[in-house]
Each structure stands twice: as C-alpha cells, then as structure tokens.
C-alpha cells in the first residue's frame, strides 16, 4: 500500500486546517451558501435529506486495518454507528454534523485518509479492479499508476473548477473491464507493447443522464507521458466543456459534440506542448511507486488446493457453496482472494456498522496481511488469504453475516441510498433491493440461475450503476408517485455496455413480479450453461418485453 511521506502528511494536515477555517467562516456568515458549496463539495460534503453526507476517499479501494478501525470509530463517535461502501469504492457517512466534520477529517488524517475531491467539479477518486495486484490475468499492477494519478490530481490548481465532476479509472486486465473504464470520463488501459508499458486512453464515457461508453483517444501513450496526456485531455475539457447547462457539462457530451477525431486533435495539440516537459514521469518515480505495492510476505511453501481445503470442501456443503461463489483465484500459489458480501437480506447494500469495521479489521490482520479492498459492487475483499485458512475465515465470516454465498448472483444487488437518504431521489432503492432479496431467498435456485447483475438507482444520476446491470432498475417520478423503469442487457462485467429500456415503468409492488417473470423466461429459454446476459443477447429484448408486460395493461 502507498505509505505516506512527510509531505503527504503535511498536505493533509494543512487541508484539515484550511477546511476548519472555511467551516468556521461559513458558520460565522462570512461565506455564503453558494461560496461554501464548492469548498465543502471538494471535501466530500453534501447537504442531504436528513444531514450532511460525508464521502471519505478510498484511493483505488485500498485500505489497511488501522484505517478500517478509524472508520468504525468515526461511525460510532460522529454518526449513527454505520457507514456505507459506495459504487466508487469510497466510504460514506449519512449523519455527520457539519460542525464535526473538521474533527472527523483530523481523525482521518491521523491514519492517512481524507475526503479530498470526493465530490464537486474536480478530479475524483481514481478507481481500479478490486483484484489489482493479485489478478493473474493483469499485465501489471495498476495501483502504482493509480497513485501517480492520485497525486497529480490532488489539488491540481488548473482543474479545481471544471465544468463538472471528473472520474478516472485504470485497468490492467486485457479484454475485460473490471474497473469499468468504459464508463468513466477517462479510462486508462495498461498495455505492454514490445516490452514497454503504455496506455490506451479512453475519454467520454459515463453514466447518469445520457449514458455512454468512452472513445479511444490515445491508442498507445508511452508510460513517461501518462500525466502529460491526462493533463492535455483535462485542459481541452476545461476550456471547451459546456458550462451553460449542468446536464450537458460532462466530458462525454464534449467528445460526442466534437467527435472523437476532433477531440483527439485538440488533445494532441496540448499534448505536443506538454510532452517531454517537467511533468514527464521518471523511471525513479515509477519504481518508487511500485515499491509501495510490493508483495506481502507470502509463504513461498504454500501450495494450491492444500489438504485442509480439500477436506473442508468435502465435509461442509455450506463452505463449499461459499467457496465457489466468494473465493477467487490468486496469482500467488497457495493463496486466494475472498469477497465479504455486504448484501445480507434486510440490510441496505454496502452498509457496515462500527463493530463490524473492527471485526473485519481483525480478520484482515489475522488472515490477509492487514489489508483489504472495497469494491464497486459495494463489497469488501480480503486479498491475500492462505487457502488452508479459508475454512477458519469462513467460519468467522458466517458469524458476522458476511459469508452470504451470493456474490454476483441476483441478490448481490448494487443499490444507491435512494429516497431514504438522498434528496435528489425520485424513488426509494433500498426497499426495492430488499423485496427482491426476500423473493429470491432460495439459495439453490439463486445458484441455479447463475451470475446476474441487478443494479438499482433512485434517479437518473445513476449512482447505483443501473445502466450497466444485466437488469437495471431506475426510480422515476410520475406525477409525484414513485415508479421504476427497467433496463436489460447492460454490462459491467466483461466490457462496459449500456442497457436498453424495457418499456413503460412499473409501480413499486410490480417490480418483484416483473423481475420474476424475466427470470422465468430466461430459465425456460436458456441453453445449457448459458448465462442470463447471454440468453438476453441471443434472444434480444422483444421476448423479455412481451413477458414483462404479459399481465400488465
């Protein structure tokens, strides 16, 4: 993990002091609401339905156990005893008091955490694959590049007042998109060509209103020029992005309006000027960053499929099932990555309590070198677990309720907070997620259905990523009443793809029956081993449409 240097620490402390003063001036009436707004947003602070919401940055999803304990402590001391893992891998608190936020930030700073640029019209938290560094399929560990980008983006003076929010994701796995780079403002794909590291750079993807996937702008940007290239794109966006209409302000609208060709030309012109300048990366710096992400002290004698694991798999059906859903291959022999599902029925997807933070921190210390990762599916990963300890870990997770063996299945729902917390919502999300979880509670059936991504957003801002769910549910408002629109065929698995609208929206109590009918159709029509999404792609939307509205008028 990246370990702070003195200057990183100093920067954070100065930030806390700055925000403390800004908050004081706001409370004293020296700053207007309007003036305080971008300042607090650049510190992750929204004013929400019931209280401010504070979004804490988790750079590329990496956390250590000390940080986790602090997150628990904050939940206990200044919130209502819980927090929430977001689809951008951050941690959100729903109930802090504005007056306490400077103290919360000071507490975070002690463990090298912050809320810098987690919202507002600036460069947001950089995200990547939750299996970064342990995925055997990746060309190299993307995290050093994420940290390089994080530092460049942090308080970058030219890009603090962009037309709109800006999100960058990095992926190192070929032909797959675990980091969802296709739906980010900039997506960075790490590629190796003739033994050299470089990047294919996409721009103009995004969800929300007018969802779209990004266009390739830079085919192969050599590693030295990563930051110059990003800076060139940002400068083009800062100068030409639409500022008249906030709904047309994202870079995707600019790329679409200009066309990828013209956008590339403008970027190249800026890049020509920056290239080989002082912003050029040095081998020393990249090596230094790589040094921060060196392997933990793996036991080199550990082997795959040890006897302890084989025996446990044979003796416990429940463990066996969990192993086959929630445990992932690891590039280090004898190790595995484990996903803790925060998707127990009756609990808002992604929620975690103060005592659970502590308990998970202990497990990370005991089983995974004290490190963990958050995922955009709102789960938590212990990245480096010895295979012969999986059974013991599973037993501990069972007690905590984090061993629900539903990862990637229909009840592993991604959902934004929706109308229960968010003042922008058109409809509730959490009760819909719960109703679906209750209906599909039979684990045998769920496993038989196989992987199905179901994502719910309470409004078109798409915080719940509904566009990229195989099944997406979007809260809409019709004459002051809550309705739900369904999309099908979105993908956030292999490659990012935007789903298609099924048709007119449904009332809340129709959602479960409609999902059940869609699933029934799939079961009737699937070919052996065919996934829901593949059946959908083979049949097209029409039969699903017909079935969904079959008893509807």
């Amino acid at each position: 993990m990246y370990v702070y240097q003195d200057y990183d620490r100093q920067l954070l402390n100065e930030r806390v002091a700055q925000f403390r003063d800004q908050t004081r001036r706001y409370l004293d009436g020296q700053l207007s609401d309007d003036e305080f707004l971008p300042l607090r947003l650049q510190n992750g602070l929204y004013i929400q339905r019931y209280a401010p919401m504070l979004r804490v940055s988790v750079p590329y999803g990496m956390l250590n156990s000390t940080q986790l304990r602090t997150l628990g402590h904050i939940a206990r001391t200044w919130d209502k005893g819980y927090a929430h893992v977001s689809t951008r891998q951050n941690i959100q608190y729903n109930w802090p008091e504005l007056e306490n936020v400077p103290d919360i930030l000071a507490e975070l700073a002690k463990v090298e955490m912050h809320a810098i640029q987690t919202s507002g019209n600036c460069i947001r938290n950089v995200t990547t694959d939750e299996f970064a560094g342990i995925n055997a399929a990746e060309v190299e560990d993307p995290r050093p590049w994420c940290e390089i980008i994080r530092q460049w983006a942090t308080f970058n003076p030219e890009f603090a007042y962009l037309p709109r929010k800006f999100k960058i994701a990095v992926n190192a796995v070929p032909n797959e998109d675990p980091a969802l780079i296709g739906v980010h403002d900039i997506g960075v794909q790490i590629v190796h060509r003739d033994g050299e590291t470089g990047f294919t750079v996409l721009a103009g993807g995004g969800l929300g209103r007018t969802p779209m996937t990004g266009e390739v702008i830079g085919e192969f940007v050599p590693w030295q020029h990563l930051l110059s290239y990003l800076e060139a794109i940002l400068r083009v966006y800062n100068k030409y992005g639409n500022r008249d209409n906030k709904y047309k302000a994202r870079i995707k609208i600019l790329v679409k309006a200009l066309g990828a060709e013209k956008f590339r030309e403008l970027t190249e012109a800026e890049f020509a000027e920056l290239k080989d300048g002082p912003i050029t990366l040095t081998a020393d710096e990249v090596d230094r960053m790589r040094g921060h992400f060196s392997e933990p002290a793996y036991d080199g004698s550990a082997t795959d499929q040890p006897a302890a694991l084989t025996e446990a798999l044979a003796s416990s059906k429940a463990f066996n099932r969990w192993y086959h859903t929630n445990v992932h291959a690891h590039r280090q022999p004898g190790y595995a990555a484990v996903t803790l599902t925060l998707k127990k029925t009756g609990r808002a997807p992604g929620d975690i309590t103060d005592t659970e933070f502590d308990a998970v921190a202990d497990l990370a210390d005991q089983y995974s070198f004290g490190e963990l990762r958050t995922t955009h599916q709102q789960n938590i990963v212990l990245g480096d677990v010895r295979q012969d300890q999986l059974f013991a870990l599973w037993e501990a997770l069972e007690v905590l309720g984090f061993a629900t063996p539903n990862l990637k299945l229909l009840t592993d729902i991604i959902a934004c907070p929706g109308g229960d917390f968010c003042s922008l919502a058109n409809a509730k999300s959490i009760p819909i997620a719960e109703a679906i979880q209750r209906h599909f509670e039979d684990m045998d059936y769920l496993h038989d259905l196989g992987p199905i991504d179901l994502n719910i957003s309470g409004c078109m801002n798409a915080c719940g990523h509904h566009h990229i769910g195989h099944i997406g549910i979007l809260g809409v408002d019709k004459k002051g009443r809550e309705y739900y629109q369904i999309t099908l065929g979105g993908r956030g698995d292999k490659t990012s793809r935007i789903g298609e609208k099924l048709g007119p929206s449904f009332e809340a109590d129709e959602v479960v029956p409609v999902i059940a009918r869609l699933v029934d159709l799939y079961v009737e029509q699937r070919q052996p081993d065919e996934l829901f999404i593949d059946t959908y792609e083979r049949l097209g939307i029409d039969p699903f449409k017909e079935r969904a509205y079959a008893s509807h008028h």
Binding site: Y7, E35, F155, N156, A160, P163, R243, I279, T282
Partner: protein, 165 residues
C-alpha cells in the same frame, strides 16, 4: 485609490476597467491606465494604443489567450475575468499565457475573486488579484498561504514533487 493584491502584498491600483458599453457611451478616456474588453481592443487597437496611458485587455471565459498572442509584447497586463468563481476556464488561460506564450507581464484575476481560490490562481500564473469589493482584502491575502506543499509543478516552479525531492 482601490487596493489589489499584487505579488503577495496589498497595493494601490492605478488601472481602470471599463466595459464595452461604458466605452461606447463615454468614449475612450484620453489618459490613464485602462483595461478594455477583448472585442473593443480588436476593433480599435491602434486608437487605444495611441492614448496617453497604458492599456490592458480583459479576457472573458470563452476568449482564449490565442486571440491576443500577437499583441502580448505591447500589453503590460492581461486581466482574466471570473464572472462566477465556479467557472474555471480562466485557470487554463492564465497557465497558457505563462507557459505557451511566455508572457511575463501582470496577469490579474478580476470579477468574482475570493480568498479560497487564490492559492490555485497563484499557481496557474496569476500574480494580481482584484478581490471582490465586499470582501476583506487582508483576509484574502491569507488564502495565498493555504498550503506549503504541492504535488504538481506549477507556473512558479514547473517541477512536480518527484523532481523536487
């Protein structure tokens, strides 16, 4: 005389900024230091330059430095207007003036200019700030000192932190 922040201190300001409408109604002042809008400058460049007194051009968002690139050696000051502090185009313009055009004159932020933006503005090349009239200029001065460390290079020191260590 009104005060501005320039090169880190509060100084009296001799410049007068006029809008296109004011110039149309009152004509060009015969003397004195004058900041004019870009369209006025483009339309009456020579008449303006012939006056007694210095001339500067003010860029609005959407008016890029390239429009005055050829004139920069006769402009002792370029003002960049922030009609709303949230419009960040001026940051890129200032940076371009300094790095692309190597402009060494005064680059002044005018309009909705507030304490909490000053640190960023200074880093992209502004060396003068006309603080919004209803704000305490002494207080705003503190904004220049918000941070003592930075990750990126900037106009004042182009080296990013990995070249400074």
């Amino acid at each position: 005389m009104p005060a501005i922040i320039k090169d880190g201190t509060i100084v009296d300001d001799s410049w007068q900024r006029l809008t296109a409408e004011q110039i149309e109604q009152q004509g060009l002042p015969a003397e004195g230091d004058l900041i004019v809008p870009l369209p006025v400058w483009q339309a009456q460049r020579d008449a303006i330059a012939a006056r007694a007194g210095r001339t500067a051009v003010c860029l609005e968002p959407g008016e890029e430095p390239s429009e005055i690139a050829a004139d920069l050696d006769r402009l002792p000051l370029v003002a960049i207007d922030f009609p709303a502090f949230k419009d960040g185009r001026g940051y890129s313009y200032a940076r371009e003036l300094r790095t692309r055009y190597q402009y060494t004159g005064e680059v002044r932020a005018v309009g909705d200019v507030l304490r909490d933006q000053l640190f960023y503005m200074h880093r992209v090349g502004f060396n003068a700030f006309q603080i919004r009239a209803d704000r305490d200029i002494e207080d705003a001065l503190n904004g220049l000192k918000d941070f003592s460390v930075t990750y990126q290079g900037d106009v004042n020191d182009p080296r990013p932190i990995y070249r400074r260590r």
